[in-house]
């Protein structure tokens, strides 16, 4: 799928840049990719194969939470540095690094911020929508899947605490194809915006229905299929006005001085194939290669079997300006050990940017304000 291809292309781009610059510890770097097929069993055998037969030095990736969950025990046992760049469920670290540090200390998440923190970021964004448009009543709709649990558990309370209202909550079975009952529920609850969290559900039918009925609410939140740069064409423009948060903000904003150059390099190299932009996992995977490079070069070794403690210590010292933002890790004793830290600007979480599909099928970064590329648009029928 697009997400995996974007991540692979981006990691390859990072590896090429590293090699042009003399490699890691003066050695040429080779990228070996395996398609997990979003299947924990497949990814288990693929990981073993890469570790035991291909002798890889670092593992980067995993999008689906169950894939991450499926390989952590093995990864913990063999001590190979593992930088998660896709799945955001906090338990992949709290249940491993947090439970048995010595066993799992080689596991990190260099991005995105975990979904507990994303829920806080989403609350910041809801406050922004209240400021911009006076939207105070929100509906919360999530895939019935593990990755949305932190949102369902945290976000409604967080919104209420900030003086906003949650007027409707619902969960959708993966593979839902009739969205009209849900949309009509949101509409009759008089929500100003619907915060929807979809990875398994592709919301195209929902967007068409929303537009045809001119429902009086915005569609905000996280929509993984909608992060694909091809989604505008795939949905024949129905994506207009929908937003999603995504690491890297699709390159629409200058989050750091690395964001735009990386995006341009990606477009030059891979812009003609799917996905024509790196997508969020691409940004995180690109950054992860450099996070690892810097850490092992400070450690002076990439030999994890002999020196994993040194490599872990140096990973913990990470302070890297990446395409997604400033990357630092939470320490071993914190609430989210080895998780990438959230960054803040003006009291709002800034490494959780929100993009909106605007006219002519362009991604615009609409939040946070500091580096937004355009104003957030309410649908023109509202």
């Amino acid at each position: 799928m697009d997400m995996g291809a974007g991540a692979e292309n981006s990691a390859q781009l990072a590896v090429d840049q590293v090699n042009d610059d003399g490699g890691i510890l003066d050695q040429e770097v080779e990228l070996i990719s395996e398609d997990s097929l979003a299947d924990p069993g497949e990814s288990m055998t693929a990981t073993e194969r890469m570790v035991e037969q291909e002798n890889i030095d670092v593992l980067i990736g995993t999008f689906v939470s169950e894939v991450t969950q499926g390989i952590v025990d093995y990864v913990g046992e063999v001590d190979i540095p593992f930088l998660i760049t896709g799945s955001a469920d906090p338990i992949t670290l709290t249940d491993t690094v947090g439970e048995d540090y010595d066993q799992f200390k080689n596991i990190f998440r260099s991005g995105p911020i975990n979904s507990d923190l994303q829920a806080l970021g989403m609350a910041d964004y809801a406050e922004f929508l209240a400021d911009e448009h006076g939207w105070t009543d929100f509906a919360h709709i999530a895939d019935d899947a593990a990755w949305t649990v932190p949102f369902s558990e945290n976000l409604p309370d967080e919104l209420e605490d900030r003086g906003l209202n949650v007027v409707h909550e619902d969960r959708l079975a993966p593979g839902t194809d009739d969205f009209s009952p849900m949309l009509s529920d949101v509409s009759s609850a008089d929500a100003d915006a619907m915060l929807r969290f979809f990875a398994h559900n592709v919301g195209t039918g929902m967007l068409v229905n929303w537009r045809e009925n001119e429902y009086e609410f915005g569609i905000e939140g996280i929509h993984v299929p909608g992060m694909s740069p091809e989604f505008w064409d795939d949905s024949e423009g129905a994506a207009l006005y929908e937003t999603t948060s995504q690491s890297g903000a699709a390159g629409a904003a200058e989050i750091t001085e690395e964001t735009v150059p990386f995006t341009e390099a990606y477009v030059e190299e891979y812009g003609d194939s799917r996905p024509s932009l790196p997508m969020y996992m691409g940004y995180n995977s690109y950054d992860a290669v450099f996070v690892y490079k810097n850490a092992v070069e400070r450690a002076g070794t990439a030999d994890y079997q002999a020196d994993i403690d040194t490599i872990v210590d140096e990973l913990l010292e990470t302070d890297h300006t990446g395409a997604t933002g400033e990357i630092e890790f939470y320490g071993p004793d914190s609430e989210y050990p080895h998780d990438v830290m959230e960054t803040e600007v003006d009291g709002t979480i800034s490494n959780f940017p929100v993009t909106q599909w605007q006219d002519e099928g362009e991604f615009e970064c609409v939040f946070p304000r500091d580096f937004a590329s355009a104003d957030h648009l309410a649908p023109d029928w509202m």
Binding site: L37, G41, M44, E52, D73, A146
Partner: protein
């Protein structure tokens, strides 16, 4: 050709006769070539840790460990569906039920439970699930029985989501690897060689046991039920009772296989254990090898897993699945009796002294 086989068959036949005198009654008689195939395969399997690294194929230890588990499951399906002709499309429920029993015990009761607790309880769970499905459904005939097993598979799959507080939903439950000590010697399936034997040895023991059962009177009644159930009833035999027995005999290896698979992957989740694809895969293995033969499903499982994990990888991550199912389809169309049954009969004709069918 006959002089060739005469030369080859001579010494082999005399060794095979030694086996036939002792065990022929119990496991079926073999000619020299068939005997050589069995012993040769056994030696190749037992010595994988020796020859695979020499050929630069250490990854085979993982692939063949996985194949051993699937061989157990395919044999488990075979003793029930292959022999009685009551085709189950939901057998992954039995192995998955066992795996989830282990998962629930480790995830919700005590993470340090030993295999002395989880293994028997998991097999018991498979047995119970087998009976719950078998007792009401085996009175049904034809497609209705198959449909019931299929639907049972769908129900169990959804149950894992419905009770996600306990089962972890799609994330599943981490159960870890097998790790125990025998006489001061640590056995851990993190070690590829040990893991291979931990999967292979139970497979061989189950194969011997099921072969024994299949060649016994019980096995003969199963086959008779498949060929003409009315005739069996007319002979005064309670066919329902024997069909339930076939489910019991099937549930035990399914339980053991499910437990092994849980620890092979280290995580029990709906996708790898209960998705209906898993039931179809184990049927495919049994049919490709040759159903109602026990040995056939072993060959089928090894062939399918080696093709999928090693040979067909040249077609890419998804392409290999397309190729695999296409090959399975071709076997179903052109070699319905199964590849290993064909090979077996070929060796039977080639190696028999009187030139007749064995």
């Amino acid at each position: 050709m006959s002089s060739d086989t005469g030369r080859l068959g001579g010494p082999l036949n005399s060794i095979a006769d030694g086996y036939n005198d002792r065990f022929g009654q119990v496991f079926g008689e073999l000619n020299g070539l068939q005997f050589a195939l069995i012993i040769g395969s056994l030696l190749v399997l037992l010595l994988v840790p020796v020859w695979a690294p020499l050929l630069g194929m250490s990854g085979l230890l993982r692939t063949l460990a996985l194949a051993s588990i699937w061989a157990i499951l395919a044999m488990g399906w075979d003793i029930q569906s292959g022999y009685t002709g009551y085709i189950s499309f939901g057998h992954a429920v039995l192995s998955g039920g066992a795996a989830y029993t282990t998962a629930l015990l480790i995830g919700n009761v005590n993470p340090d439970l030993s295999l002395a607790v989880t293994l028997p309880l998991s097999v018991l769970a498979a047995l119970t699930i087998g009976l719950v499905i078998a007792v009401p459904s085996l009175r049904l005939k034809g497609p209705y029985f198959s449909l019931v097993t299929f639907v049972a598979g769908l129900i169990f799959y959804q149950l894992t989501y419905a009770f996600s507080d306990y089962t972890g939903g799609e994330l599943g439950v981490r159960v870890g690897r097998i790790d125990f000590t025998v006489g001061g010697f640590e056995i851990t399936t993190f070690d590829p060689v040990m893991r291979y034997y931990v999967m292979l040895v139970p497979m061989l023991l189950i194969a011997v046991t099921l072969l024994y059962v299949a060649r016994s009177n019980v096995g003969m009644i199963f086959v008779a039920i498949r060929e003409n159930e009315t005739a069996v009833s007319a002979a005064g035999i309670d066919t329902t009772k024997f069909k339930i027995w076939s489910f019991v005999l099937s549930s035990i290896p399914m339980g053991i296989g499910g437990w092994l698979l849980a620890h092979f992957y280290g995580t029990v989740n709906p996708l790898n254990f209960l998705l209906v694809d898993r039931s179809i895969e184990l049927i495919a293995m049994a049919v490709v090898g040759g159903m109602s033969s026990i040995l056939g499903p072993i060959g089928g499982a090894f062939l399918v897993i080696v093709l999928r994990e090693e040979v067909l990888r040249i077609f890419g991550a998804t392409g290999r699945w397309v190729m695999l199912w296409t090959l399975i389809l071709l076997v179903l169309v052109f070699a319905r009796d199964g590849l290993f049954r064909k090979l077996w009969h070929y060796l039977g004709r080639l190696g028999s002294r009187d030139g007749g069918e064995n």
